[in-house]
Assembly symmetry: C2
Homo-oligomer: 316 residues x 2
C-alpha cells in the first residue's frame, strides 16, 4: 500500500531547503541547494530541481506526494500567486505559483505562503504553540514581522500584508526617523537594539565601556550586557519595555493562547522573556493576559521548512 | 409561498430593541421594551416576550422565522452560551443561550454575540463597511472596544475577549493610573477626553476659559473646542494623535479594507477623521495604509440591531 507524503520548500535568501514529510510529520528525506545569487526564473527552477529529486525519492520508497508547500521570505499575493521577496533578485511580482504549476505533475496541489505565516503554522504543528488555534509568531531579526493564526487560519488581511508589526506605534510623538521601518522596529529589532544603544551612548557622558558607536551591532550589545555594561543594560531595559508593550497589544487585540518569540534576536534575548511578560502584564487586558503563554521558538531555523510541510498538508 | 425572515435583538443597558428582518434586509416590524432595572432571568424573559411578539407578527404576515441573533453589551462565551454584561444585573456568566433555546420553538437557530461584534457585522452588511471582509469597528464611548472582522469572520480569540483595544499600549512609560482601563482608553475614550483635559488644565497657568476641572465631562471639552478654547484644542490634539496611532496599529497588524469609528465620541469627533487619518499615515505600514478607508459609522444607534439581524442571517 502506498502512503501519502507532502513536499516542503523553505526558500531563504541564500539557499533553498526541501523536505519530504510523512503523514505523521516525519521527515523522510531532506535536501538543500544554494541559490548562488540566482533570481527570477532561475531561482524558481532550482526549487523545481529540488522538488523533482524529492518526487524521485518518493517513487522509490512507495510514497505518493499529494501536495507541496512553499515558504517565501517576503509577501505572497494569494489572488495571483505572485511573490515579492526583497533578497531574491527579480522576485518582484514574480509568478511563482504559475511556474510551479506548469513544471510539476498536475496531481500535486501547490500552496505558497510568507515565512512568517509558515513559522506560526510550524510552531502550532510541532513547536512551542502545538495545537493552538489562536497564536502569534513574532520574528525579531533585522526587521520585525508577525505570523498570526486566528481560529486556525493565517491572518492575511485585505492585501496579504497583515502582521507588519514592526510598524506598530508605541511611543509618541512621531519622528521622521521611523519612516523607513516603523517605530517598534526602529528601536527593538536586531538593528533597533544597535540604534537604541547608539542613542543612549550619545546621551551618556563618562562612558568607559567597550561599545563603539561607529561599529556597533546588536551582537556587541548582547556581549556587553553579559559583562555588566551600563549602556547595554539600559538598552535592553528599553527593548524589554517595547517588547512587553507589543506583547500586551497582541494580547488585548487578539486574545491568543500562545505568543512565540523567534528570529535572530530570540536567540540571545530568550533570557529576557520573563521580564517581557512582566512588562506585558502591566499593560494588557487583565483577563486575556492570564490566558496566554509567551514562549521562545523551539523549531528555530527549521520553523520555515516545518511550516511549509504543514502548509502542504492543510491543502489536501 | 412563505418568505424566510430573521429575528434581531439588541440588548442595551436600559432597553431592548427587537426587529424582524426580511431576507432582503428590510425591517418588517420593530419593537422595544424597557429593562426597568431587570436582570438575570427577568431580563432574559423580556427578550423572550419581544421575540414571541415578533413570532406572532411573522405568522400573521406569512413569514417563517428561521433564526435569531442577539446583541449583548458585554462578553459572550461561545462554548457555554453564557454571557457577562456589566450593566445588566446578574448577567455574570448568565446562561442566556440555554434560556432562549428552552423558551423558543426548536426550529429557530439562536446566535448571541457581543455588541462590538454586532456593530462590525452591521456595518459590513448595510453601513460604512458594506461588503468588506476585513474590517474593524472601533467603538469610542465611555470605554473603547473593537469589533474585528477577519476574512468575513468575527475575531473572538482563545477566550472570546479579543478586540479589547482600550488596553492598547501607546505611550511609555507605564503608569499605575492605566490599571483600571488601559492606556489608550485612559486618554482617548469619552471619559479619557475629560481626563486628558484635566491633566492639561492642571499644567496650564493663566487659563481663562470655561472648563472647570471639578465638573468636566467630554461634552464640555467638545463645546469649548468649538469656541476656540486653547485647553480643548490641546486636548483634541493629543486625542487625535492617540486615535491616529491606534488606527495605524490596526492597519499594520490587520491590513483591513475599512475602519469604522463609532460610539458616543464619534459623534462629535467625526470632524477630526481627516486629521486622524493624517496621523495614522505617519505611523502605519505604508502600503497597508493606502488600502484602507477610515469612515464614521452610518448606522449609528441602529448598528447593534442591524448587526444582530446579520448574525441571525449568517446562522442558517
Amino acid at each position: 500500500m502506498n502512503n501519502k507524503c507532502y513536499i516542503a520548500i523553505d526558500c531563504g535568501g541564500t539557499k533553498i531547503a526541501a523536505a519530504l514529510f510523512s503523514e505523521q510529520g516525519q521527515i523522510l528525506k531532506e535536501e538543500t541547494l544554494k541559490l548562488e545569487g540566482a533570481g527570477g526564473k532561475d531561482a524558481a527552477d532550482k526549487i523545481v530541481t529540488l522538488i523533482n529529486s524529492l518526487l524521485h525519492h518518493a517513487q522509490t520508497s512507495n510514497s505518493v506526494p499529494v501536495s507541496l508547500g512553499v515558504c517565501i521570505p517576503g509577501i505572497v499575493y494569494h489572488d495571483t500567486g505572485k511573490v515579492w521577496a526583497p533578497n531574491i533578485p527579480d522576485w518582484d511580482e514574480y509568478p511563482l505559483l504559475d511556474h510551479l504549476l506548469k513544471s510539476l505533475p498536475k496531481s500535486i496541489k501547490v500552496s505558497i505562503d510568507s515565512d512568517r505565516a509558515c513559522y506560526i503554522l510550524g510552531e502550532t504543528w510541532m513547536g512551542s504553540a502545538k495545537g493552538a488555534k489562536n497564536a502569534i509568531f513574532v520574528a525579531v531579526g533585522t526587521g520585525i514581522g508577525a505570523g498570526i493564526l486566528v481560529d486556525g487560519k493565517i491572518l492575511r488581511g485585505h492585501g496579504d500584508i497583515a502582521g507588519a508589526t514592526g510598524w506598530m506605534a508605541l511611543q509618541r510623538p512621531y519622528n521622521k526617523k521611523f519612516d523607513a521601518c516603523g517605530n517598534f522596529e526602529y528601536y527593538a529589532s536586531g538593528d533597533g537594539v544597535a540604534r537604541t544603544a547608539k542613542e543612549i551612548l550619545k546621551n551618556t557622558t563618562g562612558y568607559e565601556g567597550t561599545l563603539n558607536p561607529g561599529t556597533l551591532r546588536s551582537e556587541d550589545v548582547f556581549e556587553a550586557f553579559d559583562k555588566g555594561d551600563p549602556v547595554a543594560i539600559e538598552t535592553f531595559g528599553q527593548c524589554i519595555e517595547l517588547w512587553g508593550m507589543a506583547v500586551a497589544n497582541y494580547v488585548s487585540l487578539f486574545n491568543p493562547e500562545k505568543i512565540i518569540l523567534g528570529g535572530g534576536v530570540f536567540g540571545p534575548a530568550v533570557k529576557f522573556i520573563p521580564q517581557i511578560m512582566e512588562e506585558a502584564k502591566k499593560w494588557a487586558q487583565p483577563i486575556s493576559i492570564t490566558q496566554v503563554s509567551l514562549k521562545a521558538t523551539t523549531l528555530g531555523k527549521h520553523a520555515g521548512l516545518i511550516g511549509a510541510g504543514r502548509l502542504a498538508m492543510l491543502n489536501t
